[in-house]
């Protein structure tokens, strides 16, 4: 990780999200994201598996993957963006890797992640 000055860290701390729920790679999250539709603003929920967590202060992001109508969809959300209304942990998964990019090559039953409860 690149060196970051303490001044910048202090500067960034102001824009950090107060309550980030505890989650880790492999969990299924639902991100409530504000989108502008025409001239109205509404909240859209994107639910998917967390396949990557980028930890970098105010620049932190989460990458979610879901399969929608047989098409794999991945979305990267800036964790501390004011557009992210809320992050909800739907279920917790058991994985042995920090980055789940191998899911991209798998489909159907093979692409499942074991739930904590079923362990």
């Amino acid at each position: 990780m690149a060196f970051k000055s303490s001044t910048i860290a202090a500067l960034e701390s102001a824009s950090l999200r107060k309550e980030v729920p505890g989650f880790r790679v492999g969990d299924t999250l639902a991100v409530h994201y504000k989108i502008v539709e025409g001239d109205k603003e509404r909240i859209q929920v994107f639910k998917g598996t967390l396949i990557k967590r980028h930890r970098a202060g105010a620049r932190s992001t989460v990458t979610l993957r879901k399969v929608s109508f047989n098409v794999g969809v991945e979305r990267i959300f800036p964790l501390h963006s004011p557009r992210v209304e809320r992050i909800e942990v739907v279920s917790r998964g058991v994985v042995r890797r920090g980055r789940l990019f191998y899911l991209r090559g798998l489909s159907g039953k093979a692409a499942r992640i074991q739930d904590v409860k079923d362990r």
Partner: protein
């Protein structure tokens, strides 16, 4: 010459800032706690400028002549000294020994030029220095992978054209980035957030002043 009021500071590094609507703005953070150490005047020196000092310099590292200058100005020795040309009216607004607060110079949304010394890359080949494509890596290429190729023709003109791009010193040059937007001004902390990158490494010295090409001055 850029006569807009300016300041010297140190680049701290980069970060990003969220605007109210969620737009992400990449920013460079510049720390500036400069003070006026002296003045140049038209009458005495033939031009108007403010001499700015930055950082602390230990007594034992200050040469006698320099220490004399600081003593005359009545300020503690500074590590870095830079002269910034400015209008006499602007210079009149400051006194020797006075700290420069950023909110007097810059507004959010204002455009500034930032000057610094770029990272030195030493003697570099044409691929690094000028983004040449180089040669083929395969197909029997023999010792011609990172070369630039031909540098000219034959008898006519019988010389290499001036300004031909060739290997040489890359970086460690004074570079200005022009018309960067000021994203945030934090006068208490002495911090300035400028959209985009500025030349040089973190902790490098930079000079920030109003943009010469577009609405540079602080708007009233």
């Amino acid at each position: 010459m850029n006569q807009f009021p300016g300041v010297i500071g140190r680049k701290l590094g980069m970060t990003q800032v969220f605007l109210g609507d969620g737009t992400v703005v990449p920013c460079t953070v510049v720390e500036s706690k400069a003070m006026v150490v002296g003045k140049r005047t038209q009458a005495k020196d033939g031009y108007d400028a403010l001499i700015l000092g930055l950082g602390e310099r230990k007594e034992k590292h200050t040469s006698r002549p320099l220490a004399g200058q600081f003593a005359k100005a009545g300020v503690a020795p500074r590590r870095v000294l830079r002269e910034l040309r400015c209008s006499p009216e602007w210079a009149a607004g400051f006194e020797v020994g006075q700290a420069i607060t950023l909110d007097r110079l810059f507004d959010v949304g204002q455009l500034v030029d930032v000057r610094g010394v770029s990272r030195g890359r030493g003697f570099s080949g044409v691929m690094t220095r000028h983004h040449f494509k180089g040669g083929r890596m395969t197909h029997g290429n023999h010792e011609y992978r990172r070369h630039g190729g031909s540098i000219g023709t034959r008898m006519t003109p019988g010389r290499v054209k001036l300004g031909m791009k060739m290997p040489g010193q890359h970086g460690n040059a004074t570079v200005s980035v022009l018309s960067q937007e000021v994203v945030r001004v934090l006068p208490e902390e002495g911090l300035l957030l400028i959209r985009g990158g500025v030349p040089g490494p973190a902790s490098g010295l930079v000079e920030v002043r109003g943009a010469v090409k577009r609405r540079g001055g602080k708007r009233a």
